[in-house]
């Protein structure tokens, strides 16, 4: 019954609007220009009336919009109304504590504040319009808007956790054969993660709490949402909540990478791999997913799968997301180089990654000196990106390339170990001797980069007459 009342209220407001407009129109048509002035006054009054309506009933109208969205199962619109990307969050009239209208904070005029709206208890207001659990959920959201406007992300996070409890609740799960609320879940979980991030920063400034604490808690909540989605076996494909799995995984990946707990990504990857929807998610979700899975593979030294995932992400990334493309490339470059594929200069320039230019040149030439110089020069950048250690692996490739050049220059299959020593000394490798040379060669042979053996007696490296330095891409 109360919902009908609320709707009538809304229509009533609209009616007043329309009657007032027609009234002014009638004035205009029936009377001549003498009364034109009167009409303008009326029209301005009408504008004030609009503001009045919004001021007094703004919160109600906002709640009515939510009610309608829920009633129509309009997940996207409902999601927007509960999202912090939506402009409504800036409206002080929705926020819990009373504040003067923001226009009066910005105006230099000392006119008196127009109206101050008391939103006594958001829970009460919400209960008048919405059914549980939406009433509590939206009330928490309203309290959150105030916290966010005050830049108090710790409070904001607290309230957002109440909002996010909703998808795990029986009410959401009771949408048994439906998944219309998935956009809502996406929106509120995204905001939860962002608040957790900001709350962490604020806690650190106050030197309170353990680092990563808030993010871990947020991750736990997101995991329970994930489980709700993953365990939806009942509905048909179109209505299945399984469509929420990839988005949630991506949010969880972001947290796990941030708090450095990559091993927690495994169950998520396994769940998505075994799902039959894995190729049908949206491009945005797939690109993000492959980016993180590619980085995980790189971390686990699975370079072939890493190349596959990161290449997919790179090629299918939307062209306007240059920042994301660049990020993908930062991780794709070392992987590609380890597999023997060097980037063109144009590519590095296009994505502002010239830090890799000398790295590429050094590795492909076998110029260990240049590589070391480049790694030193851009050490901070590489460490910040988390690829410094991977780039160190390129040294082995560089040794291989350098020794291959020695082989090509000397044109014999029996290469004196001393020749390699000469080349290493040229590269200003410190304290290198014949034993060190043997060590490096032994490693290269073991890894499959050189086909041959070391003859101690003759102090020579004897290489195969066929393909002694196999292409890098064929060596795993």
């Amino acid at each position: 019954m109360r919902f009908e009342y609320a709707l009538i209220e809304k229509h009533y407001i609209n009616l007043i609007h329309y009657y007032y407009y027609y009234y002014c129109l009638v004035l205009l048509l029936c009377f001549d220009h003498l009364f034109l002035l009167l009409c303008f006054d009326h029209l301005f009054l009408l504008l004030w009336f609009d503001r009045l309506v919004l001021l007094l009933w703004f919160d109600r109208l906002f709640l009515l919009q939510i009610y309608e969205a829920i009633d129509n199962h309009d997940g996207s619109f409902c999601a927007e109304l509960l999202s912090f990307k939506h402009p409504h969050v800036a409206n002080p009239r929705l926020q819990v504590r009373p504040r003067p209208p923001s226009c009066c904070q910005r105006c230099e005029d000392t006119h008196s504040p127009v109206f101050v709206l008391q939103l006594a208890s958001p829970e009460e207001k919400c209960q008048q319009v919405l059914e549980p659990p939406y009433d509590e959920m939206v009330a928490a959201h309203l309290r959150c808007t105030y916290a966010v406007a005050n830049h108090d992300f710790i409070e904001a996070y607290k309230f957002q956790t109440l909002v996010v409890q909703y998808p795990s609740e029986p009410a959401f799960q009771s949408h048994k054969e439906e998944n219309w609320a998935l956009p809502v879940m996406f929106s509120i979980t995204l905001d939860l993660r962002i608040f957790a991030n900001n709350a962490e920063q604020q806690l650190q400034k106050k030197a309170k709490g353990q680092p990563g604490e808030m993010l871990e808690k947020a991750a736990e909540q997101l995991m329970s949402c994930f489980r709700v989605c993953a365990s939806d076996n009942r509905a048909g494909i179109e209505d299945s909540k399984k469509w929420g799995m990839m988005f949630l995984s991506n949010q969880l990946f972001k947290i796990y990478f941030k708090i450095n707990k990559l091993h927690l990504c495994k169950p998520l990857i396994r769940a998505i791999d075994s799902s039959n929807l894995k190729n049908d998610y949206s491009p945005a979700q797939k690109v993000t997913y492959k980016y993180y899975v590619g980085r995980k593979a790189m971390f686990d030294s699975d370079f072939k799968p890493a190349e596959e995932f990161l290449s997919f992400a790179f090629h299918h990334c939307h062209r306007s997301s240059q920042k994301n493309k660049r990020m993908i490339l930062i991780y794709l470059l070392p992987v590609k180089m380890l597999l023997g594929h060097m980037p063109t200069h144009q590519l590095l320039r296009k994505y502002d990654l010239m830090q890799f230019a000398d790295v590429t040149k050094g590795v492909s030439e076998g110029n260990l000196l240049l590589l070391n110089e480049a790694l030193n020069k851009h050490e901070t950048f590489f460490i910040r990106c988390g690829i410094f250690l991977i780039l160190e692996k390129l040294k082995i490739i560089t040794f291989r390339n350098l020794f291959k050049k020695v082989y090509l220059l000397l044109r014999t299959h029996q290469l004196p170990l001393d020749a390699f020593l000469v080349s290493l000394r040229m590269m200003q490798v410190e304290d290198v001797d014949i034993d060190e040379v043997q060590c490096i060669l032994a490693n290269l042979i073991y890894m499959g980069h050189i086909k041959g053996y070391i003859s101690q007696q003759h102090q020579k490296l004897v290489v195969s007459k066929q393909n002694p330095f196999p292409p890098l891409s064929s060596v795993s």
Binding site: L54, C103, N198, P283, A284, H315
Partner: protein, 99 residues
Amino acid sequence: MTHLNNCNSHNSCVWEPFITKQQHSDGVNMSDKKQTVDLGLLEEDDEFEEFPAEDWTGLDEDEDAHVWEDNWDDDNVEDDFSNQLRAELEKHGYKMETS
């Protein structure tokens, strides 16, 4: 009247929140319109960003063809570095056959 005019310029906070269904269905562009809500919600600089749009086609993707080279591994020793190495080896008594 003047007060009204002044206030109208700050009106965005009052009028904006009423995005009707019409505008909403106009598409993603809505979020580009007014960045009045800058509540520090942006992600950190070194994080992978959320995409503004969910869906796109191949037309929205960059071609980026021919960006990876394999020919660096050809058996070519005419570049500067190779010449440097050649000189160094010769200096240490290694004879290199030239043919």
